[in-house]
């Protein structure tokens, strides 16, 4: 028996080793590299590097734009978690529990943005928001709300919500499918019993559906947080470049600007370390908040 267990572990190690090596090479090594470079003044374009200790972090501490960027990142996290979860849960319930004939079609429609490149989504929505030819302003003018029309991506007040909308739109499909999988696995008998007991649909949703698909909800929220902190950059870069001014700057776009436009690669690396730390802390806090006993009926 002991020999057999040892062989099983060896076999598992054998299977995991390539992945582990890839993880070391392509994840751990660059992360440690980023940490290393953050202690240097380095343009990123030559071999000349100067060790400056914690200077990049001191500069980061005094940088007002990074504070704005962190705020913006958390704005996106917050509205994406709320927006995506509410809408994907709504559509998941609608497409599984209401007997809609066209449900398979809607599944494809909602999932469609997930197969599109974020760059394409950004450009598409840039056209939608275009101040002179965009759909949004044209619609507002058609319905007589001319004073509501504005350069959405050029307005310091409206730029963040304007970027958040396509981010939510693009995120619904994936999480809707994930939640639909969870809802499909809830035994029908529970709803039938609840019906007999006179529970309303709303009560059934809160007392049966949500508790039983909590693992999927939790996974979705964590995934949205992680992807938002690391992934808002592309949409921001394409749609506004962090502007107007620094109104839509996120940590990723600021890293890009500092490292690749201002040739301050060391400082960019320090921003990268900050993103890692902020992400880790946020995920740990989220996991703590979302901790809930698994419900079984």
């Amino acid at each position: 028996m002991a020999q057999s267990a040892k062989q099983r572990y060896l076999f598992l190690a054998f299977c995991l080793l390539p992945t582990f090596l890839l993880f070391l090479v392509f994840t751990v090594y660059p992360m440690l590299g980023g940490l290393y470079y953050s202690f240097f003044e380095w343009s990123g374009t030559s071999s000349v590097k100067t060790f400056i200790g914690l200077d990049n972090y001191v500069k980061l501490w005094n940088d007002t734009i990074i504070k704005q960027a962190i705020f913006n990142d958390f704005f996106f996290v917050f509205v994406k978690v709320i927006g995506i979860m509410m809408l994907s849960l709504f559509f998941a319930v609608a497409l599984t529990q209401l007997r809609i004939k066209e449900a398979p079609f809607y599944r494809i429609v909602f999932f469609f943005p997930n197969i599109m490149s974020v760059v394409v989504i950004g450009i598409l929505w840039q056209f939608i928001y275009d101040p002179s030819i965009g759909l949004v302003n044209s619609f507002l003018m058609k319905v007589g709300l001319t004073e509501w029309a504005r350069p959405w991506l050029g307005d310091m007040t409206w730029v963040l919500p304007s970027i958040a909308i396509p981010a939510i739109w693009a995120g619904i499909g994936l999480f809707m499918l994930l939640l639909m999988g969870g809802i499909s696995n809830v035994p029908k008998s529970l709803y039938e019993a609840a019906d007999i007991d006179g529970a309303s649909e709303w009560q059934q949703f809160w007392r049966i559906t949500v508790p039983l698909i909590w693992p999927q909800i939790k996974t979705s929220i964590l995934y949205i947080i992680i992807t938002s902190l690391n992934g808002s950059f592309v949409l921001v870069q394409v749609m506004t470049g962090g502007g107007p001014g620094s109104a839509s700057e996120v940590m990723g776009s600021y890293l890009y600007q500092r490292a690749f436009e201002d040739f301050q690669f060391g400082y960019g690396a320090a921003i990268g370390v900050l993103i890692l730390v902020v992400s880790l802390i946020t995920v740990l806090i989220s996991q703590f908040i979302l901790k809930k006993e698994k419900v079984e009926y």
Binding site: V25, S47, D130, P151, G154, G241, F260
Partner: protein, 463 residues
């Protein structure tokens, strides 16, 4: 026992392979990183090239050039001609719109190409000089002469920059500059006059606004450097001269406190107050703003010389490009132009420096200046090149060329390359200008607030 021994050998072998993979991935050999580049030969192997032979140049010559709004037609032609003159020379081209990024690993690993045209995103000449990446070619260029015997250094419109007491690290190849574009045909049809100073410019914009109900001025808010370089820098130069312009950009506190700085920003504020700036400008990138200009949604746009070439596929047939140095000057004073020179250099670690220098010598001729104007719609940085007889050169360019070569019409101001320390300040100042400019143009900040912020930023950086 045999089975156990076999298993041990297997795991040993597996661990070794894994270790090798890890070492290979972590090794500093970056020579394979430029696979995406446009290579017309074999990869650089890092070995020194053979010296030039008597019957012409030989070995390998690697040339890195950025392909942007000016395209690559001219480069292909000169490189082809140079190759014909030196059949024993193998030329490797590294070119493309992202070439600076793609070649970065080569520069970091001290294995750069021989010749580099410094242009486009990811290229910074000041940084390259400060980090010793470019060769001091002072002695070489001092002896170079044009076909008519004029020293090359005397033949540039904007002179080669001398650093650290006379050292020359690059040659000014392309005379790029930012100015204001308009549609000459459209202006003729409507009897609108091209402006000559700020007052006539503002009144022209107000007139166009009344007659057409458009916001006459557009720029890209996503890339505020277009306004900074295209409007603000010429305005500062016109108001206070070359030293003033350079001091402002380098964060000299006293410069930001001079009344001329506020006067210039008051002009910018006037544009915002008069509502002649497109209200959507902050949302547009450079392509969108250029498209709007071509579609007559606006009448003036600050862009560099590459505009007609870059947008040629989208330009309506009846649009005729008109260009003027940005009219931020006072009435009666010359228009101010701040050239944005694109240079060419030999890398310090060039493996075939003789061929690299020969290539530099080869391209600075009147013939290639004519060809450059014809194929790019821009000007090579050589004086007294008569483009009027060249039918392949666009009409607007002939006019610009005459204007630039006429010191009475246009005053040229140079932006000097600061040293490495000041360059760090200049980067922060530029970033702050870009941030604050948008708010002034949106009417959210006054000229006084802008100057106050820039003064404080300069004080902070100069501490």
């Amino acid at each position: 026992m045999v089975h156990k021994k076999g298993m041990k050998q297997f795991w040993l072998l597996f661990a070794l392979v894994g270790l090798l993979m890890l070492l290979a991935a972590c090794s500093g050999d970056d020579t394979k990183d430029d696979v995406a580049t446009n290579v017309e030969g074999t990869e650089a192997d890092g070995t020194p090239e053979e010296p030039a032979k008597e019957d012409g140049l030989s070995g390998k010559l690697e040339i890195q050039y950025f392909v942007g709004g000016y395209g690559d037609e001219w480069w292909k032609q000169v490189i082809g001609d140079f190759k014909n003159e030196n059949p024993n020379l193998e030329i490797v081209e590294h070119a493309g719109p992202n070439i600076n990024t793609e070649m970065n690993t080569r520069w970091i690993s001290n294995n750069p190409p021989d010749v580099v045209y410094i242009d486009g995103a990811g290229a910074n000449e000041t940084q390259m000089i400060a980090e010793g990446q470019l060769m001091d070619i002072s002695d070489f260029v001092k002896d170079l002469k044009m076909e008519d015997g004029t020293p090359l250094l005397d033949s540039f419109i904007s002179p080669a920059e001398e650093i650290d007491g006379g050292k020359i690290y690059s040659l000014p190849l392309v005379f790029d500059t930012w100015g204001i574009w308009y549609d000459s045909n459209w202006f003729k049809e409507n009897n609108w006059a091209a402006p000559t100073d700020f007052d006539t410019w503002l009144s022209s914009m107000e007139q166009i606004k009344v007659e057409t109900n458009i916001a006459p001025f557009i720029t890209t808010g996503q890339h505020p450097q277009y306004f900074e370089r295209g409007v603000l820098n010429p305005a500062f130069a016109a108001a206070g001269g070359e030293q003033f312009l350079n001091d402002l950009r380098n964060g000299v506190v006293e410069a930001w406190q001079r009344p001329e700085a506020l006067e210039v920003m008051k002009k910018v504020q006037k544009m915002a107050d008069a509502k002649v700036v497109d209200p959507g400008f902050a949302a547009y990138n450079h392509t969108q703003s250029q498209m709007n200009f071509l579609l007559h949604k606006n009448a003036y746009i600050p862009v560099g010389f590459w505009l007609p070439n870059e947008m040629k596929n989208d330009t309506p047939s009846d649009l005729e490009f008109g260009f003027t140095p940005t009219p931020m000057n006072e009435p009666g004073e010359p228009l101010a132009l701040v050239p944005d020179i694109r240079t060419i250099a030999v890398s310090e670690k060039a493996k075939n420096p003789e061929a690299a220098k020969a290539f530099l010598e080869f391209i600075f001729t009147e013939k290639y200046a004519q060809d450059f104007a014809a194929s790019t719609g821009a000007i090579m940085n050589l004086k007294n090149v008569d483009l009027s007889a060249n039918t392949n050169v666009p009409e607007f360019l002939t006019g610009i060329n005459d204007m630039i070569n006429n010191p009475d019409a246009v005053q040229l101001y140079k932006h000097h390359t600061p040293d490495a320390e000041v360059q760090k300040i200049a980067v922060e100042i530029t970033n702050e200008i870009k941030l604050q400019l948008i708010e002034v143009l949106l009417g959210k900040k006054t000229a006084e607030q802008f100057i106050d912020i820039m003064t404080k930023k300069s004080q902070e950086l100069r501490k």
